[in-house]
Amino acid sequence: MSVDYSHIAEEAKTQIASCQDGEALEVLRVKYLGRKGMVQDLMAKIPALAPEERRAFGAGVNNLKNNLADLFAQREATLNNSAVLFRGAGMDRTLPGKKPLLGKLHPLTQVQSEICEVFGRLGFKVFFGPELETEFNNFEALNIPLDHPSRDAFDTFYVSQPHSNSLKTTERLLLRSHTSPAQIRAMKICKPPLAMIVPGRVYRPDAVDASHSFMFHQVEGFAVGEDIRFSDLKGVLIAFVQEMFGAKTKMRFRPSFFPFTEPSAEVDISCFICAGAGCSVCKKSGWLEILGCGMIHPHVLRSAGHDPSRWRGFAFGMGVERIAMLKFGINDIRLFFENDLRFLEQF
């Protein structure tokens, strides 16, 4: 013998939902869950079942009982709220509040500020360099020689000089292709020891598509002292990634090459989307590449007028768009610069 009771749940659900007051709800409750109710009737059928069916049937009916009890409780709460408290005496406090209009900072500003704040707490000070840079600061001072393939990674917009300009330089001007030239400027203005963080716009002649933009943002950081070590760089960056991406974030350093650091490293963090299990964002590797770093190359210290036998430093740089895209799940870099309010209001 088998007993089908699936219709009971459906029926009860409809009736409970359409119930408009407490009394009617109580009548329904007795009908289903009372001592002589329908659920109890089902229970009474257990002894008549084949022994192997009893266990599953009992569990099913018990489940039904619990579900119905939940439905009654929910409906009761709803009826209490709307009818008794808000529809009777006093004001209808379910009317929407008059929300003051809140503005929004651009998601890139939010991420950039967060990065700067984290490093601020670690003792770094914010410095800004110009976007219109000299070729020397953007390249030669950073150990990127002319006519070297290492320049390929830094395709650059060159800027023609208007007839009169206050820079009074005969040097070729360009739109900086990275924030690293700010290292040179900062170290010329401020003698070591120092620790700076430089946020700003940078430019590279990349055709615009979902993952490229000719204008984007970077944050550069560097510290120079008499006893700065490579291990300090790891220490500072683990503090940063765990504040930025969560305390469980893992970090790894991979050897890499940048002309302005030696040794150099690429930094990956454990993918916070799949927690390292492998997903499309981390290309199934479990790791996300987020920044490049290393010990400041002696050539760079010398370019800024400091003796590399006395001073040592580390430097790192990251792309703000990339971090914002990862953090917020944004899949198209162009969204940042279209300025659609329906985009901006989500952050």
């Binding site: 008059k98 003051p100 209009l101 503005g103 900072l105 651009h106 890139l108 500003t109 770094f124 410095f127 800004f128 110009p130 976007e131 219109l132 006519d147 070297h148 393939p149 290492s150 390929d152 990674a153 917009f157 060159y158 800027v159 023609s160 208007p162 009169s164 300009n165 206050s166 820079l167 739109l175 401020c190 070591p192 120092l194 716009r201 002649p205 990349d206 204008m215 070590r229 490579f230 291990s231 300090d232 790891k234 220490g235 500072v236 790894r252 350093f253 991979r254 050897p255 890499s256 090459f257 030696e262 040794p263 010990m295 040592r312 610069f337 300025n339 659609d340 309010l341 329906r342 209001e345």
Partner: protein, 681 residues
């Protein structure tokens, strides 16, 4: 650079799985972008950084694998060294005219070659790496290119008159058809290999079609050379040609490898194509010079890496990578750099080598001792942060628009492109050519995008740089359009010019800039007639604002009828005019007296005139003057408006009495009606 597992294992005996090896390579700096199983082999796609041309070869990668795995590197690839027969009838002459462009040129003359398809094993080696087999001779040059990282080229000797080669700069007007079939015009920037009268190859880039090896070729001239990286780089730019060869020459080839690869390719051609080496010629010194020696302090290495590596361990790593070492004193190592490691120049480079193989992941985490230092951000920068917070607090959304714009953007905005504007020499397109001198076009682009995407109401701002002859300035742009989001029960919130002006006033108040004056800016074509205004502080423009003209709206493709109000603030001037110090002025303990005045004002009298007059007549008493109401309508005559002002009088710390203020207020009333002819109600 693609490399296959089986080929690597030909040079180093490792037991690591292909997957494990891939991870190990990545963690040593040979970033593996992908690992694919192809035809029973495993192929790594390795992103080789520009400092490591030695990794652009299977042998170079194998050397690295040996160091990582602590395995032995098998050195010999060439089994049989072929010596030229030097027969009397064979002739080959090589001359280098441009010694800077080419430091070494080796030519091997191999005769009696049978060109055909390569054996299957060779084809497969190339195919898994994505190289297309052509014929046995060409395949062998490609094979050796991959194995040694040394580009080789084979000419059909019978198509070179007198077998005489000259390495020289191309002459203007000379042309060549390259192997890919494209004709290229040459210039003296391009280094070529020429026969007695014409170029037959673009040196280091690509061979010419006329001397290409094909199935009919009998005699081969094999080239292995060292071309100057910068010269080759210029060549790629001038001709628009990038090849596996140019890629390696640009990064620098190893002089020792020039001869090794030549020996290997010669051996293969002799064996696989039945050739006989008859002449071996060399031009150029081709001396690698003295090997570079670097003295490195292991104490320094341990200190900067915070690791406790033994001298023996450090020596072991360097030697496995091909460096020679000699312990000069305790912890002082003299390192001899091999010819294939031109990137290693300073002790720090060796620190990286040691750290890389030791394992970056084994370096501990430490906290730096950042000593206090003094550095203050500029006022403008502080101002920028504050402004962003204030404006977001007022409900505005921050936008970021491109710093680059077009002449067309300015035309659409009815603005002139400033004569001193900077422009790009190499723009991506004319749309992004000019470094902006104002944020207005960007702001309008943002507004237009929104209105045209059915976001008809909004309030936005941008703070960013503009580039003028004074270098970089920070500007704030504000735009209000349509109406403010209405809360229920609220009447119209359609934006007006005064919403915008109010925001500016609030900002000026917050920065304690009180001495500002307004000046009509009718010459500002961008704005609707009669709405534009400059705000001046000490005769300097600090801001301008107005309503966007219909024409400008049309130009930007905005068809919606909603009004747009726009302001631009010169943040540097705001920062310079701001009072950074805030001072507490006490709280008045004496009561003030409030008097309201209602009056009918003709359009010819401005509010500021009334304000001024009241200030003058009640000098010392006016604490606050507020416009309580302004109305126009049926009960107000044309070209007039009804104003109700609320004046709060006080006498500072004295108690102000009616007796004292009455005559003052009367003076105000009298002057309003007598001097300005206003009708008081």
């Amino acid at each position: 650079m693609k490399a296959s597992y089986s080929w690597i294992r030909e040079f180093v005996d490792i037991k690591m799985s292909p997957q494990k090896l891939g991870d190990a390579l990545s963690m040593a700096g040979l970033s593996v972008a992908s690992l694919e199983e192809i035809d029973g082999d495993f192929v790594y796609d390795i992103e080789v950084t520009s400092n490591r041309p030695d990794w652009l070869s299977i042998r170079g990668i194998a050397r690295e694998v040996a160091a990582i795995a602590g395995a032995k590197l098998k050195k010999e690839a060439v089994r049989k060294t072929h010596r030229p027969k030097n027969r009397a009838q064979d002739r080959l002459s090589i001359r280098i005219d441009d010694k800077k462009g080419c430091s070494l040129y080796c030519g091997n003359l191999i005769v009696g070659v049978k060109v055909g398809p390569s054996p299957e094993w060779l084809k497969k080696r190339l195919l898994v790496l994505g190289l297309r087999p052509v014929n046995s001779v060409v395949d062998i040059t490609n094979y050796c290119l991959m194995e040694y990282g040394q580009p080789l080229h084979a000419f059909d000797l019978d198509r070179i008159p007198q077998a005489s080669l000259i390495v020289r700069r191309a002459r203007s007007g000379e042309k060549i058809v390259l192997i890919d079939g494209l004709e290229k015009a040459l210039s003296p920037q391009v280094l070529v290999i020429a026969d007695s009268d014409r170029p037959i190859a673009a040196a280091g880039l690509m061979g010419g079609q006329a001397t290409e090896v094909n199935a009919q070729t009998k005699n081969v001239l094999l080239e292995s050379a060292c071309f100057d990286p910068v010269t080759v780089r210029h060549g790629t730019r001038v001709l628009g040609v990038v090849s596996d060869s140019s890629y390696r020459f640009e990064r620098g080839v190893d002089l020792v490898g020039v001869k090794e690869a030549m020996a290997r390719a010669t051996e293969m051609i002799c064996e696989l194509c039945n050739g006989t080496l008859v002449v071996s010629k060399q031009a150029g010194a081709g001396k690698a010079g003295n090997k570079r020696k670097i003295t490195v302090s292991l104490k320094e290495v341990r200190d900067v890496l915070s690791i406790d590596i033994s001298t023996l361990q450090a020596k072991g790593i360097l030697e496995k990578l091909g460096f020679g070492t000699r312990l000069k004193a305790k912890d002082i190592l003299e390192v001899i750099v091999p010819s294939f490691r031109k990137d290693v120049k300073i002790p720090e480079d060796l620190t990286e080598e040691i750290a890389r193989i030791y394992g970056y992941d084994r370096i501990p985490l430490t906290a730096p001792s950042i000593k206090p230092f003094s550095f203050a951000a500029s006022q403008t920068q502080l101002c920028e942060f504050r402004l962003k917070g204030l404006l977001a607090g007022m409900g505005l959304k921050e936008i970021i628009t491109y710093s680059l714009g077009s002449d067309e953007d300015y035309r659409k905005t009815s603005l002139e492109v400033a004569a001193d504007a900077y422009a790009l020499e190499n723009p991506l397109s004319q749309d992004y050519r000019i470094l902006r001198t104002t944020v207005l076009p960007g702001l309008l682009a943002g507004v237009a995008f929104n209105i045209n995407h059915n976001n008809k109401n909004g309030e936005v701002f941008e703070i960013s740089r503009v580039y003028t002859k004074n270098n970089e300035e920070i500007r704030l742009g504000i735009a209000l359009f349509g109406s403010r989001r209405a809360a229920w029960l609220k009447e119209s919130c359609v934006y007006t010019l005064f919403d915008l002006k109010g925001i500016l006033e609030a900002l000026l108040d917050e920065f304690q800039v009180s001495a500002y004056v307004l000046k009509d800016a009718s010459d500002w074509k961008f704005a609707l007639v009669g709405t534009a205004c400059h705000v001046l502080v000490n005769d300097q423009i600090i801001a301008r604002f107005g309503q966007v003209s219909e024409e400008v709206k049309r130009n930007w493709g905005i068809k919606a009828k909603e009004d747009i109000f726009v302001a631009e603030v010169l943040v540097d001037i705001l920062a310079a005019s701001a009072l950074s110090k805030k001072t507490f002025h006490g709280i008045a303990t004496t009561p003030s007296i409030v008097r309201d005045i209602s009056m009918l004002v003709p359009d010819s009298v401005s509010f500021s005139r009334i304000e001024e007059l009241i200030g003058e007549k009640a000098r010392g008493y006016v604490q606050r003057l507020a416009l309580a109401e302004r109305y126009q309508g049926i009960e107000v005559p044309k070209a007039h408006s009804g104003l109700t002002l609320s004046i709060e009088y006080s006498a500072g710390q004295r108690t102000l009495t009616d007796e004292e203020i009455n005559p003052v207020h009367q003076r105000v009333l009298d002057s309003l009606s007598e001097e300005l002819g206003l009708k008081l109600r």
